[in-house]
C-alpha cells in the first residue's frame, strides 16, 4: 500500500480528531475508542474510495476492518 495513501489517511484522522501525528500509532483503536464516530467512519470510507478508486460496500464498514490504521491498510491491500 502506498505511503501517499497512508499520509492522506493520517491527515484525515489528524483533522478529524484534532491530534498530532505522533499520538496516532498504527494500532491505535479508532472506532472502539470512540475517537472516530460512525459519521467519521463513513466519511473516511468516502475518502478511501476517492483515493483508491474502489468501492467500499457498506457491509465492510465494520470495526473488524477499520479500527486502526494498520487494519485499514491491510483491508485495502487484501482486496
Amino acid at each position: 500500500m502506498s505511503a501517499a495513501l497512508e499520509a492522506k489517511l493520517r491527515a484525515f484522522l489528524r483533522s478529524e480528531l484534532g491530534v498530532t501525528d505522533d499520538a496516532l500509532r498504527a494500532d491505535t483503536p479508532l472506532v472502539s475508542s470512540g475517537l472516530v464516530d460512525s459519521a467519521g467512519l463513513v466519511r473516511l470510507a468516502a475518502l478511501l474510495e476517492r483515493e483508491t478508486g474502489r468501492i467500499i460496500p457498506d457491509k465492510d464498514l465494520t470495526a473488524d476492518h477499520f479500527d486502526s490504521i494498520a487494519q485499514i491498510l491491510a483491508y485495502l491491500a487484501a482486496a
Binding site: 478529524e16 499520538a23 472506532v31 475508542s33 464516530d37 460512525s38
Partner: protein
C-alpha cells in the same frame, strides 16, 4: 460538475387541500386521483442520480401492499414494523399498512454496521414484542439479518419482504377516521421496553398544519432532507409535511449523506431548496468537516429555513455554520431552532422565520443556586432560543408540585396542543405519567423569556447522540458483562462535545483491578463491548476503585451525581492518552 441546476415542476396541489383533510390516507387518495402524474418525491443519491416518484405510483403500490397484507390476515389496529432505507418501497409500505387499517411503526435500519447484528435484531425484537406485531416487514437485506437471528424475535411474527406483497387482487381499503391511530413512533425509554408513541391521523395533520402556518411554507418551497424516515423528524418533517403541503420533496438516503455531507448542500443548490431539517450535529459537520474545495460555486441563497431540531441547539454551532456559509449566500435568519418531541408528533415551537436565532448568556452561579436564568454580560452558559409556540400550542413551565412558574424560572416544560399523542402502546403507567389533564409533561426542563422557550436539560438519563436517543441502562448492561467489572457498578452518561456538536458516551466503571496493564486491557474490553452493543464508540472510560460510582441511599445508580463528580476529570482528559 455539481454546480448545475434543475428546475422542478411546480406543485399543482391547492393549498387548502391539507386544511380540509381528516386522514392521511384520504389526503393521499385525493392527491392520487387529482394529480396522478405529479412527481411528489425525488430520491437523490450520491452520484446525483435522481429517481422520481409520482403520487399515482405511490398510491398504486400502496394499494397492492394493503391488499396483500389484508389477505395475509392483518386486522384493523394490527401493527406492522417496517425496516427499510429511504426509498419508494418504504413510502408505499407506510401508506399501504395504513390503508389496510394497520398501524405502521418504522424501526431503525441495520446501517449501524459497528454494532453486533444480534444486538440490533434484539432491539427490533423488543419493538416487535411491544407492538405484538402482525409482521416485520423489511427489504431483502434487513429480512436476511432478521432471518439469520430469528431467535431474537418473537416466533409468532412473520418476516415479510416486498416480494410477499405483489400481485394480490385489490381489496377495498379499511376506512379511517381522524381519531384512528395512524402511526406508532417507537422511542427509547430510560428503562424497560421501547415506548410506542401512538399518533392519530388528526394529531399528525394538526402538527403539519401548525408547522406549515408557523413556517409560512408555500408550494414553491422545495424541501431537501436526508434524515432517516424511522426518525420522527424524518417521517413527519422531512416527508409528510412537505408532501401534504404541496412542497416539492427531495429525499437523500441517509447513508449517502453520511458518506458525503456536502451532497445535502449541493442538492439545496441544485433544486433551489428552501426548507431542510437536521439535528445540531449535522450543522457542525457541515461547518467544520467539508473542505473548501468541495464547496466552490455553491449557492445557498434559496435556503429560507434551516431547521435545527431533535437535539439541543448549540450556540457555537449556530455561529460557526452561519459564519462559514455566509460566503455562499446563507442568511443567518434562515437558521431556525425548534423544540419538539414525538409525543407532540414533532415541533411545538419555532424560531421566528425572519430573525436570526436568539442566544442568551446566563449567569451560571445563579442558575445553579436558584434555578433562575438571569442574562449576564460576563461569561456564563449560552442557551439558544427555540422560539415561540406554534399555532395551537400553549407552553407552561411548572415546578415539582405542578404550579406554573414565572418567566425565567427553570422548571418542567408542559405543553397543551391539538396534536398530542394518544398514549404509549400497552404502557398505561408511562402514559399516565406523561399525559395529565390534557397536558403533556415533556420530561424536559427549560424556561420561558418573553414568550420564547429555552431548552435547558432533559429530566431523564437518556443520552442524545446526533438526534438518536440511547438508554444508559442498555450500555451499562453490556459493560457489566465484561469480566473484571464490579457488577452493577458502571454508570453511563453523555458528555457534550462541542467539536462534534453532540454528546459523546462516557462511563465510570468500578473495578478491583489495580495492575496498570490489566486496567488497560479492561478498558479496551469495555470499549469493544459498548461498540458491539450500540455501534457507538465509548469516548471516555474512567476506571475507579470500589465506591467510586455514586449511588442513592437505597443503592440505586446515581448517574447524574456520578457525572457531576467526574465531569472535570473527563473534560481535562487528553483524547488519545486516556486514563485508568
Amino acid at each position: 460538475m455539481r454546480t448545475g441546476r434543475v428546475e422542478l415542476e411546480k406543485s399543482p396541489i391547492p393549498s387548502d387541500m391539507l386544511d380540509r383533510a381528516e386522514t392521511l390516507t384520504e389526503l393521499l387518495g385525493t392527491l392520487a386521483r387529482s394529480f396522478p402524474d405529479y412527481a411528489c418525491l425525488r430520491l437523490v443519491r450520491r452520484d446525483f442520480s435522481d429517481e422520481q416518484l409520482t403520487v399515482g405510483a405511490v398510491w398504486t403500490r400502496a394499494r397492492e401492499i394493503q391488499s396483500a397484507l389484508m389477505r395475509q390476515g392483518l386486522r384493523p389496529g394490527g401493527f406492522v414494523v417496517i425496516v427499510m432505507p429511504t426509498g419508494a418501497e418504504l413510502v408505499a409500505t407506510y401508506f399501504g399498512v395504513m390503508l389496510a387499517g394497520g398501524v405502521p411503526a418504522l424501526a431503525a435500519t441495520p446501517s449501524h454496521r459497528l454494532a453486533d447484528p444480534l444486538t440490533y435484531v434484539s432491539r427490533v425484537g423488543r419493538i416487535v414484542q411491544n407492538a405484538e406485531a402482525h409482521a416485520l416487514y423489511g427489504d431483502n437485506e434487513a429480512a436476511g439479518i432478521f432471518r439469520a437471528h430469528a431467535e431474537a424475535l418473537p416466533s409468532t411474527t412473520a418476516i415479510l419482504t416486498p416480494a410477499d406483497t405483489v400481485a394480490a387482487p385489490l381489496a377495498e381499503p379499511v376506512p379511517a377516521r381522524g381519531d384512528t391511530i395512524a402511526t406508532a413512533q417507537y422511542s427509547s425509554g430510560s428503562t424497560g421496553p421501547p415506548k410506542g408513541v401512538l399518533l392519530t391521523h388528526r394529531a399528525i395533520l394538526n402538527n403539519i398544519r401548525a408547522l406549515r402556518r408557523g413556517l409560512r411554507l408555500t408550494t414553491a418551497d422545495v424541501s431537501v432532507n436526508w434524515i432517516p424516515l424511522y426518525h420522527d423528524m424524518g417521517l413527519i418533517d422531512a416527508f409528510l409535511l412537505p408532501l401534504f403541503s404541496g412542497c416539492p420533496t427531495i429525499l437523500i438516503p441517509t447513508m449517502d449523506f453520511m458518506r458525503d455531507p456536502a451532497l445535502w448542500l449541493w442538492a439545496i443548490h441544485r433544486y433551489r431548496g428552501a426548507h431542510a431539517w437536521a439535528p445540531n450535529f449535522a450543522y457542525t459537520l457541515c461547518a467544520k468537516r467539508i473542505a473548501d474545495d468541495d464547496l466552490a460555486g455553491l449557492d445557498l441563497s434559496s435556503w429560507r429555513l434551516a431547521v435545527s431540531a431533535a437535539e439541543p441547539v448549540l450556540a457555537p454551532t449556530v455561529h460557526a455554520f452561519s459564519r462559514r456559509f455566509a460566503a455562499y449566500g446563507f442568511r443567518p435568519e434562515a437558521f431556525t431552532p425548534v423544540y419538539g418531541l414525538a409525543e407532540n408528533v414533532t415541533a411545538a415551537t419555532a424560531q421566528a422565520i425572519d430573525t436570526p436565532p436568539r442566544v442568551e448568556t446566563i449567569d451560571r452561579a445563579e442558575l445553579a443556586a436558584s434555578q433562575v436564568a438571569r442574562p449576564t454580560d460576563g461569561t456564563g452558559i449560552e442557551f439558544v432560543s427555540t422560539g415561540r409556540n406554534l399555532p395551537g400550542c400553549t407552553i407552561e413551565i411548572r415546578d415539582e408540585a405542578r404550579r406554573v412558574l414565572p418567566d425565567r424560572a427553570v422548571g418542567a416544560i408542559w405543553l397543551q396542543t391539538d396534536c398530542l399523542f394518544s398514549g404509549y402502546h400497552r404502557n398505561r403507567e408511562a402514559t399516565a405519567a406523561s399525559l395529565v389533564d390534557g397536558w403533556l409533561n415533556t420530561g424536559d426542563r427549560g424556561y420561558l423569556a418573553g414568550g420564547e422557550l429555552f431548552f435547558v436539560s432533559r429530566d431523564t438519563d437518556l443520552i442524545n447522540v446526533g438526534g438518536e436517543k440511547y438508554t444508559p441502562h442498555d450500555i451499562e448492561t453490556a459493560i457489566n458483562a465484561v469480566l473484571g467489572v464490579r457488577e452493577g457498578c458502571a454508570a453511563v452518561f453523555g458528555v457534550l462535545n462541542e467539536e462534534r456538536g453532540t454528546e459523546d458516551l462516557a462511563a465510570v466503571v468500578e473495578t478491583k483491578e489495580v495492575d496498570a496493564a490489566a486496567l488497560e486491557r479492561l478498558r479496551h474490553e469495555i470499549q469493544a463491548a459498548v461498540l458491539r452493543a450500540t455501534g457507538l464508540g465509548l469516548r471516555h472510560v474512567l476506571l475507579v476503585p470500589p465506591g467510586g460510582v455514586e449511588k442513592t441511599t437505597s443503592g440505586k445508580l446515581a448517574r447524574r451525581a456520578t457525572r457531576s463528580r467526574y465531569l472535570e476529570r473527563l473534560g481535562a482528559e487528553q483524547p488519545l492518552e486516556g486514563e485508568s
